[in-house]
């Protein structure tokens, strides 16, 4: 085993580590959640990361987005993600796509992946991604944040969890987010993704919600 992954051992078996190196994951979004997801997946040691975001950095991203910095303002987020990947773990194959997830490209973006990670920031794109995951038969690891709160879930093909989390007519009333909420949520998602990719048992359709203000974590359903 390569020395850079030696501290994975114990928490993961050598066989599981080797299995992770064969896996391809798609990260939808390279902003608050996406930046931390990419960082954690790079260091964990998956085989290939494909990441898409059509946005560029602006000053309001600086309070929480790992890939942002004053010198990166105006830079495409997908480009910053690729640079970070080359710096942190060049052994991981990294494919960056400077596009938003849309009805037109979603299926093609995720095709062939072993898992898809939701790092999007709006309900419409999440519905598109969930439909694409169902049609391509790929597990979706949902994550979302608001203020002090984070939620995460594994959604296996055929599960309607996204429609239950975001029923018709629901709208996002707040864009508030703190520096520590995205990495916390990304950690929940990456832990779920690791269990999935390593073939460990997990339950689909469970929504986990954490409130960092009240130091609570609950399984909502």
């Amino acid at each position: 085993m390569e020395e850079r992954y030696i501290r994975n051992l114990g928490a993961l078996t050598e066989k599981e580590c080797a299995l992770l190196r064969t896996k391809t994951v798609f990260v939808a979004g390279c902003g608050g959640l996406g930046g931390y997801l990419i960082e954690m997946l790079l260091r964990l040691g998956v085989g290939t990361i494909r990441a898409a975001d059509g946005d560029s950095f602006e000053a309001s991203n600086l309070n929480r987005q790992l890939l942002s910095s004053p010198s990166a303002l105006g830079q495409p987020k997908a480009e910053a993600a690729a640079a970070r990947a080359a710096l942190v773990n060049p052994d991981v194959r990294f494919v960056s796509v400077p596009e938003f997830v849309t009805e037109e490209n979603a299926a093609e973006l995720i095709r062939g992946c072993d898992a898809v990670l939701d790092a999007l920031d709006n309900i419409g794109a999440r519905r598109i991604l969930a439909r694409a995951c169902a049609s391509e038969n790929i597990p979706l690891i949902h994550g979302a944040i608001c203020g002090w709160s984070a939620q995460a879930a594994v959604i296996l093909p055929g599960d309607d969890l996204i429609d239950r989390i975001y029923p018709d007519g629901s709208r996002l009333s707040s864009k508030t987010s703190l520096s520590f909420t995205p990495p916390f949520c990304a950690a929940l998602q990456t832990a779920l993704c690791t269990r999935l990719l390593a073939g460990r048992p997990l339950e689909s359709g469970r929504l986990y919600m954490a409130d960092l203000l009240d130091m609570e974590m609950e399984t909502i359903f």
């Binding site: 999440r126 979302a144 608001c146 989390i165 975001y166 629901s170 009333s173 009240d214 359903f221």
Partner: protein, 73 residues
């Protein structure tokens, strides 16, 4: 009494949990109005753990859980 549990941003100004006399609410929507929560700011409404709608009736002993849409990324 009906127990109402608030989550995430819905806790702001309302606390985490409160009790409402059963005779003061006949539907979940009555509880939303009582706490000044617009229906479209509730993404998940559970009555005793089951997905429900504002028009659904509530009764003594019920536990109502209210979640806003958490959707940032």
């Amino acid at each position: 009494m009906i127990e109402v549990r608030f989550f995430a941003t819905l806790r702001e100004g309302r606390g985490k949990i409160t009790q409402v006399p059963a005779e003061e609410a006949s539907t979940a929507g009555d509880l939303l109005r009582r706490f000044n929560i617009p229906a479209d700011e509730v993404a998940i409404l559970l009555i005793n753990g089951f997905h429900s709608k504002p028009a659904d009736s509530v009764k003594d002993g019920d536990i109502i859980s209210l979640f806003p849409p958490v959707g940032g990324g």
